[in-house]
Subunit: 170 residues, 2 copies
DNA sequence: GTAAACATGTAACAGGTTACATGATTGT
DNA sequence: ACAATCATGTAACCTGTTACATGTTTAC
């Protein structure tokens, strides 16, 4: 149920069309809550049907600009403050670790070495992003910076863990 | 597609019934790849249909013990070594962070404080688990310990980040 | 003129959740 | 006798992915 809240969250900042929202998902939200074109348009129609957003303006090429309604804002606040976050996250990365005993120690270490590289690359990509953005004083800037810091710390943690784990094998 | 690999992984260690596998999912795999009864039985039927597992014995109450086939082992090894892990993980925890600007600074800090508590509790729960298990010399023990260490480090990282983040607000 | 970008919609399928439905065996 | 546990199966529904389908506007 979080795609709808992601859309509500984006529309709480400014009105936008499905196409605009798609671009945002492809850039800033891609690492946190990926969504594709099909899903976004379908969900926008549902949100409009439920009265949480409304068409504020129509433009060329059938463009429909949506804005969040009071009901939508209430739902967004409810989700932010009352809905308990998901406790577990499915991780195929970690699931594989459980079964590395099926492989040879060399293959298992290779898997962890790949994870090390992946984490290093992820860290570097986020660092480049952090360097390229000019962080102004706005709210999106404050919280965007906090989210990005999470990504940096996560990748650093995972890289160090994967290096440690490789040493544990044999 | 990872549920099937979780099942193959468990069956690569020892033969088991759907019921046995369900118990394992409720305990050791609950934090990595949760799955429910309905899903497990459905997937076992599919796996058997695809020849990746086979019924090795039948017991009382319609119990069916499955064992992994050579084809199943090949598929498991393929997944472990060749299939690239998922790059992004959907995180509703982090998604909320993007939109905390909608709330008051007090409410935003309260959300982060809840995350701090959640992470601390998660860490403690895993630490208790680590203390209660007697880690023998087997493979499952080695890799189980490595997976658990990931959980500990993840929760520690998230707690420190949430504490840091709360300080950034105002 | 035509390619790129803008813009939306829907159908088919895969994976996951909740709920319903049923019955056998074991331990007290 | 009765409760707890063992044991499986399936239907309805929701979310997400891939692919197909269509048409407009802008820039060169």
């Amino acid at each position: 149920m979080s795609l709808r809240h992601a859309l509500l969250g984006l529309l709480s900042d400014r009105r936008a069309s499905g196409y605009d929202l798609l671009k945002t998902f492809e850039t800033s939200l891609a690492n946190v809550w990926p969504a594709n074109q099909s899903q976004i348009y379908t969900e926008l129609t549902k949100l409009a049907g439920a009265g949480l957003i409304a068409v504020a303006a129509e433009g060329p090429r059938g463009r429909k600009e949506y804005e969040i309604t009071d009901e939508g804002m209430a739902e967004l606040r409810h989700w932010l403050t009352e809905v308990p976050p998901q406790r577990v996250i499915r991780s195929d990365v970690l699931l594989r670790v459980f079964f590395l005993g099926v492989l040879s120690p060399e293959q298992a270490r290779a898997y962890l070495a790949d994870l090390t590289d992946l984490s290093r690359a992820g860290h570097e990509q986020l660092q480049r992003l952090a360097d390229s953005v000019d962080w102004d004083e706005g709210n999106l800037s404050v919280y965007g910076r906090i989210a990005l810091e999470y990504g940096l710390r996560f990748n650093a943690m995972r890289r160090e863990w994967a290096e440690w784990a490789a040493e544990q094998i044999r």
